[in-house]
């Protein structure tokens, strides 16, 4: 089966006085139908820019400079602005991290959902849309949906607001939902509820999900496939089971070591030293080299290609797998 969404050689740059600065730099990805692709990385890795590029919502002075974004074979980058508007919220919908700033504070939530529906359906009567909006609230398990219809965002808890955002995103039954850190601002108990809801809705509708997060716990819970992003590039890509069982890229190892786990009693967390390089000061070779404990002189000369290290498992590291290098194993 062909994947629902294919991203090929995507490059998103920001214009500056010193030339183009890459935020996404040659990314290839595929989102399988009915499955969840997790994209993980620290802030500033380009994961949000990647999703905005898919939606063609990159803020100025940024632009998609190269590549293709194929939704069921159609290149979204070729669409007219009107055509793209029909895709957004129609076939592809998006939810964001902060549900308070994504909702309009001066309109009742029900009307906001109706507005999203109206944008894609000019024929239905208001009464019909209202019923559909209430059904949408009901579908995201908001209790007493008909009564909640007239409430304002400030009257809802953070978890409820995120449910409203999901209801709005799913209003037109999209084939793909892009969730950009959907639970980062929420309590862990509410996060569990929202993730549970997303799984249920995926089972009901068969939609694909692109889940962007910096939390490996969320990835392990939700994703079928995982892409680890670093400084605008894919560092590693495989199924979730394979990634956690046999992580290859040193950056993935660093992320795994940073997560506090309940099932072990390490004294010290294995933090990654330093920080993500800003996109205007990227190293010439491997972008993780300045923070990598396994770095060699060769890592500085050229960026490592993303190579298949095991069936369906890709890593961009000349040192992978690390135990095969004699100087490391010693």
């Amino acid at each position: 089966m062909t994947p629902l969404l294919e991203i090929q050689g995507l490059r998103t740059v920001f214009r500056s006085a010193n030339g183009d600065i890459p935020a996404v730099d040659g990314v290839d990805l595929a989102v399988p139908r009915g499955k969840t692709l997790g994209i993980v990385g620290e802030s500033g890795c380009g994961k949000s820019m990647l999703s905005l590029s898919v939606m063609r919502l990159v803020p100025r002075p940024g632009r998609v400079a190269a590549g293709r974004v194929l939704l069921e074979g159609q290149n979204l980058l070729d669409l007219s602005e009107a055509g793209m508007r029909a895709v957004r919220g129609g076939q592809v919908a998006m939810i964001f991290q902060e549900p308070m700033t994504s909702l309009n504070p001066v309109h009742p939530i029900g009307l906001q959902i109706m507005e999203a529906m109206r944008a894609h359906d000019t024929k239905a009567s208001n009464r019909e849309l209202r019923d559909r909006a209430i059904a949408a609230l009901d579908r995201v398990r908001i209790p007493a949906a008909a009564r909640r219809f007239d409430e304002f965002p400030h009257q809802l808890s953070g978890g409820m607001r995120q449910r409203v955002m999901i209801a709005m995103a799913l209003a037109c039954r999209p084939k793909l939902l892009i969730a950009d850190e959907p639970t980062t601002a929420l309590d862990v108990t509410v996060q569990a509820q929202i993730l549970d809801l997303l799984k249920d809705l995926q089972a009901e509708t068969g939609m694909s999900i692109v889940l962007i997060t910096h939390e490996l716990g969320v990835i392990a819970e939700m994703a079928d496939e995982v892409a680890v992003m670093y400084a605008g590039r894919i560092a590693e890509r495989s199924t979730a089971a394979e990634l956690f069982a046999s992580p290859q890229h040193p950056y993935t190892l660093g992320l795994l070591g940073s997560v506090p786990r309940l099932d072990e009693t390490r004294e010290e967390l294995l933090a990654i030293e330093g920080a993500v390089p800003p996109p205007f000061a990227l190293p010439k070779g491997c972008r993780f080299e300045p923070r990598c404990p396994f770095a060699l002189a060769a890592c500085r000369s050229a960026p490592p290609p993303l190579e298949e290290v095991a069936p369906g498992h890709f890593a961009a590291c000349i040192r992978a797998p690390v135990e095969n290098s004699l100087d490391i194993a010693a």
């Binding site: 620290e42 953070g158 108990t189 549970d196 046999s246 506090p260 786990r261």
Partner: protein, 359 residues
């Protein structure tokens, strides 16, 4: 060990008023409702709970940034009031959650870190400048950072500046109000390691406020779980994670997604939201969301009682709850574990070879 901080029956009620001219009190928000705990010297006590449970209010009450409605705070045996407050303000420092909001954008880092010393009249300008350099080194920043402004730093670096400022007056207790929840995982790990390292070096005590039990697992010696203004369970770390006695503690634990796809589907969310602290439910405050609630829970408020060594719980049925399926001790996958060990070893070798490499 001696007790450094003793908090008894701490309460903070906010009146809710209605009407413009003749404002009438129509209700009370019980933000903190009878909280007692103590912290020994060199110990880390973590307070965990969802947003709105009163954990940050508790931290501010201990600091006396807000006045309690009732209750006492004793620091090093002395009740905090009047003149004792000034001493408290030196011996207790705070690190805030948001490293973007807690630094003055118009002050150079050197001035930010030196300010507490100035306020308390410690040292001369020269000695303070020397101390700033020393502190920057302690938190893993370089001396030249002293002349920069906060906007020139990343979130993790700002949090290091906040920690340096807290350390400036050699406090005995640092209150950490969600110090890592605004940071990326890899940076979280750096800051958690730094806090633990500083504790070992200076014998610091921490009151660590968090909503993330996984981070607490690495930081705390003891844990107090708060719900709607009250402590529902307090126990040594091991007991909290191996034998959680309160249904709410269990709910918090089973909501954590494990970084391990083999354990997928084990996350069990509890239903509902935290009720409003203006109208807390009668009886046990957790009964509206508790899977084990009985009639008695709706009528009678449970009190904190001892159920094990150092473990106290406020639940009528703590003894008869089914055993908790604690996190399996499968640990990390073997190949991943081997590579992580290599990573740690390589990192250590590098740190030994290049001590100047900035952390």
């Amino acid at each position: 060990m001696t007790t450094l901080l003793q908090v008894e029956n701490l309460t903070k009620h906010y009146p809710v008023k209605k009407g413009l001219v003749l404002a009438k009190q129509v209700g009370t928000v019980r933000a903190v409702d009878g909280v007692s705990f103590q912290i020994e010297r060199g110990e880390t006590l973590a307070i965990v709970g969802e947003s709105g449970c009163g954990k940050s209010t508790t931290a501010r009450l201990v600091l006396r940034l807000i006045e309690p409605t009732s209750g006492t705070v004793r620091f090093d045996g002395q009740e905090v009031s009047g003149a004792a407050l000034r001493t408290l303000r030196r011996r207790v420092q705070v690190v805030f959650q948001d490293p973007y909001a807690s630094l003055n954008p118009r002050l150079r880092v050197a001035d930010t870190i030196a300010e507490p010393m100035e306020v308390h009249g410690i040292g001369t300008p020269e000695s303070r400048a020397a101390r700033v350099r020393e502190l920057l080194g302690l938190v893993g920043l370089a001396p030249f950072h002293a002349q920069r402004y906060p906007h020139e730093f990343s979130g993790g670096q700002r949090q290091r500046i906040g920690i340096a400022r807290a350390l400036a007056v050699q406090p005995e207790l640092i209150i950490c109000d969600e110090p890592v929840s605004a940071l990326d995982v890899s940076i979280q790990a750096q800051v958690v390691n730094l806090l633990k390292d500083l504790q070992r070096r200076f014998g610091l005590s921490y009151l660590f406020i968090a909503h993330d039990l996984a981070v607490v697992h690495h930081m705390a010696d003891r844990v107090a779980v708060m719900y709607l203004g009250q402590i529902v369970e307090t126990a040594p770390k091991r007991a909290i994670f191996d034998r959680p006695a309160h249904p709410y503690t269990r709910a918090l634990l089973s909501a954590i997604p494990h970084p391990d796809p083999r354990r997928r589907g084990l996350v069990k969310p509890i239903g509902g939201d935290v009720p409003s602290p203006m109208n807390p439910p009668p009886g046990c405050r957790f009964h509206t969301r508790c899977p084990f609630a009985q009639d008695r829970c709706k009528a009678e408020m449970p009190v904190l009682r001892d159920i094990g060594p150092g473990q106290q719980v406020a639940c009528h049925f703590a003894e008869v709850l089914p055993p908790f399926d604690a996190a399996s001790h499968e640990g990390i996958a073997p190949v991943a574990a081997k590579r992580l060990a290599l990573y740690a070893a390589a990192k250590a070798r590098l740190a030994a070879a290049l001590p100047g490499r900035a952390p």
